[in-house]
């Protein structure tokens, strides 16, 4: 589609060229799929990743690193369970630190996936089709990592089932007025619904892989999980309706999940936590960090698996714009917290925020501000939004900043509460660090396995957004439907769907 004005090749290094399709031409829809005008090309491009004999070397390298970190996670978690939570650097009053920081961080990462799959779907943002599949996968793996931390931080892990209202011989029930219990319901519902949403989207694509599979194992596995999908239009009709309903259900869900996570803090009385701005602030922060993670994953994945024609520069540019917007929202929340602390006149509230910026955790606070508010402002410049190395670096910076945001909120508020006599300083131990690193390893392992064995891009959805998918597309009219000139059949006919 280089015929479209505004699309041009950039980049000098071989293998690192980019097609710039970010320019908007009035009267034309920007192409979301580049250099391909046949449905089969899309199928092949996506399926070749799962069908190739062996993945690229970079995949193996990343997998070995991730898997070793999973080993570290196993060591740390087992050591914790066999010894007790004392192996972490927790103290009185800092009873929550890395565990809950990691929990909130990972739950937040997940939110971008649901935003892309549900909210952008409701807003008819067709560019979401290039990135929704692996963003949803990211959501699921992030929520798995998130779920790990509250699970192990309870101390007696073997009693974790007390979190659920299961009839038991002690006739003991959970306390439903506690936000911590709301969290159990919110996160488990979020995980279940995200998994269903992802799986429903996968069914037609698994059927594609099934129909292309050569090996018996592949045929059996893809066949089983595609449930016998055969693209029936009577099925598509209910399928599309169900997908829309899932999107409509996931939208309030995703907003509620991080709101409930923020209630864990906001409902308590602690200065620095007891704030009404928390729910929207947490949701904006979650989307901010999640989109940064999508960019972090998309940039290497599209390079490694040759998916640049479907995850185009335009997709990345759009995501960087969302990072900029949500980064500004987060910055607004930071300043509003300070304003309210001053305006409320509450002594402890004022102290909590001054202490955050200039107290014993001042460095964490300023890492957070510079990573989340200052550096994302660079995305105002289009040159930076469309530069692959810069956006990758900035997305890493945002990930770091958002991890520190949670650390600042949790630890700095706990460490210096009402009574100076009870103040203390939290220092992480090697187990704290190892568990945090290990969670990244778990996330990476799951994500790499997903990239290898499942369609990373929603094939059916991408095809449906191509101009050729519209029965009233002028190409079909010119070639005369049903007169033996079906355009897709003849490989030599070039199609410029946007030609006047």
């Amino acid at each position: 589609m280089s015929a479209i004005p505004g699309n041009s090749r950039t980049g000098r290094l071989p293998g690192f060229e980019e097609t710039d399709n970010t320019v908007d031409v009035p009267g034309q829809r920007a192409s979301l799929v580049l250099h391909m005008d046949k449905f089969h090309q899309v199928t092949r491009q996506v399926c070749q990743v799962a069908e190739s004999k062996r993945p690229p070397f970079a995949w193996y390298a990343a997998f070995v690193v991730s898997l070793s970190l999973v080993g570290l996670l196993g060591v740390c978690v087992n050591y914790l369970i066999f010894t007790g939570v004392g192996v972490w650097g927790l103290n009185n009053p800092v009873m929550w630190a890395f565990d809950i920081t990691n929990f909130v961080f990972w739950v937040g990462i997940g939110h971008a996936g649901t935003l892309i799959s549900a909210i952008l779907f409701l807003f008819r943002q067709k560019w979401r089709t290039g990135i929704n599949r692996f963003a949803e996968a990211m959501t699921i793996f992030a929520v798995i990592c998130a779920g790990l931390f509250p699970g192990i931080h309870v101390g007696r892990v073997w009693l974790a089932y007390w979190l659920f209202p299961i009839p038991n011989q002690m006739e003991m029930w959970p306390q439903f007025r506690s936000p911590l219990l709301w969290d159990v319901f919110a996160v488990s519902t979020y995980f279940t619904v995200s998994l269903l949403f992802w799986y429903v989207g996968l069914i037609p694509d698994l059927a594609t892989l099934r129909d292309r599979a050569k090996g018996t194992i592949q045929q059996f596995a893809y066949g089983l999980f595609s449930l016998g999908w055969r693209g029936s239009n009577r099925h598509w009709h209910r399928y599309e309706r169900a997908y829309l309903l899932l999107a409509a259900l996931s939208t309030p869900l995703v907003l509620s999940v991080h709101s409930v996570v923020s209630f864990d803090f906001a409902v308590s009385q602690l200065p620095g936590w007891h704030t009404t701005i928390f729910p929207p602030y947490f949701v904006a922060g979650a989307i901010f960090s999640g989109f940064a993670m999508v960019v972090t994953l998309a940039v290497p994945a599209r390079q490694m698996f040759g998916l640049k024609d479907m995850i185009t520069l335009r997709h990345l540019d759009n995501m960087n714009k969302i990072i900029l917007v949500t980064g500004c929202m987060v910055g607004y929340a930071y300043s509003m917290e300070f304003f309210i602390a001053w305006y409320s006149g509450a002594l402890y509230e004022k102290f909590a925020f001054l202490n955050r910026a200039f107290g014993q955790y001042w460095w964490a606070y300023w890492i957070m501000v510079s990573c989340n508010v200052i550096t994302p402002q660079l995305f105002w410049f289009k040159r930076i939004r469309t530069s692959i190395p810069l956006m990758f670096a900035l997305s890493l910076v945002v990930n770091i900043g958002m991890w520190f945001e949670r650390f600042v909120i949790i630890v700095s508020s706990l460490a210096n509460d009402f009574l100076p006599t009870s103040w203390d300083f939290f220092t992480p131990t090697w187990v704290d660090m190892g568990t945090m690193m290990g969670a990244f390893g778990l996330f990476g392992t799951l994500f790499l396995l997903f990239c290898r064995y499942l369609p990373m891009i929603a094939v059916a959805e991408v095809k449906a957004t191509m101009p050729q998918a519209d029965p009233h597309w002028e190409g079909w009219q010119h070639h005369g439907a049903g007169h033996g000139h079906a355009a897709l059949a003849s490989p030599e006919t070039p199609h410029t769907p946007d030609a006047p």
Binding site: F39, H40, P165, P167, E171, W173, P174, F176, R177, W182, F185, T189, T192, V193, L196, T208, D211, R212, Q219, F220, G223, L224, L227, G228, R230, G231, S232, N233, R234, H235, H237, R238, Y239, E240, R241, A242, L245, L246, L249, S250, P252, L253, S256, V260, F263, V459, A460, K463, A464, Q468, A469, D470, P471, H472, W473, W476, A481, G482, A486, A489
Partner: protein, 204 residues
């Protein structure tokens, strides 16, 4: 899926006893011709037929005359059930001391937390909301599959070699043999007349 049914039987098979067939399949190469053909099939009065496409084709529901699914209504019901279950669960476990038989005998326990009312509705809302979404979403997926008759791993169409591209880049119309208007040679000719690139029988 490993064994494929033979493609359309040769013309000489006219006299030989025919195998029982699932129906007749017509292949199209683009959504536009499929859409036009679907309109014709519908006008011809067929009932047991379907289109198979790699992605949902815009306007095909209307061309085929598919009725709106009842799914949203059922999902709404499931959502309301979730809300109710959420309220009853919390009110029973945290605000009563009655015994109920739910597979085993269970008894509620009135929790008195900082002098708040036993039935503190605002505090119950998050869990009621989450259960609403949980039940609605799970039943949405479950009912969608149920209404679609999935999973159905042994469907005759899945054994057809030509049909493999229905999930890639080909568009199919399948008229089933159980249709009262179905008559193999006539139906095949009819589909050929609609501009199908290929027409063949699908073994049952």
């Amino acid at each position: 899926m490993t064994t494929f049914a033979p493609s359309s039987p040769p013309a000489s098979a006219q006299s030989a006893p025919r195998p029982k067939i699932h129906g007749v399949l017509a292949e199209f190469h683009d959504p536009a011709s499929l859409l036009h053909a679907a309109e014709k099939v519908r006008e011809a009065g067929y009932r047991w037929w379907d289109c198979h496409t790699p992605f949902p084709v815009h306007g095909l529901d209307k061309a085929m005359g598919i009725q709106r699914t009842i799914l949203p209504l059922l999902v709404f019901g499931a959502g309301l059930t979730g809300t109710t279950v959420g309220f009853i669960l919390q009110a029973f476990t945290n605000a009563t001391s009655i015994s109920v038989w739910a597979l085993v005998w269970v008894t509620g326990y009135p929790f008195l937390i900082s002098g708040k009312p036993l039935i503190s509705l605002p505090a119950f809302i998050p869990v009621m909301f989450e259960l609403t979404i949980l039940l609605a979403a799970t039943s949405c997926v479950g009912l969608m599959l149920l209404l679609n008759g999935l999973p159905w791993l042994s469907h005759p169409l899945l054994a057809n070699k030509r049909f493999l591209r229905a999930t890639d880049d080909r568009f199919f119309i399948v008229i089933q043999s159980r249709d009262p208007r179905f008559f193999r040679s006539r139906t095949e000719d009819f589909l050929k007349g609609l501009g199908a690139k290929a027409v063949e029988a699908v073994e049952a």
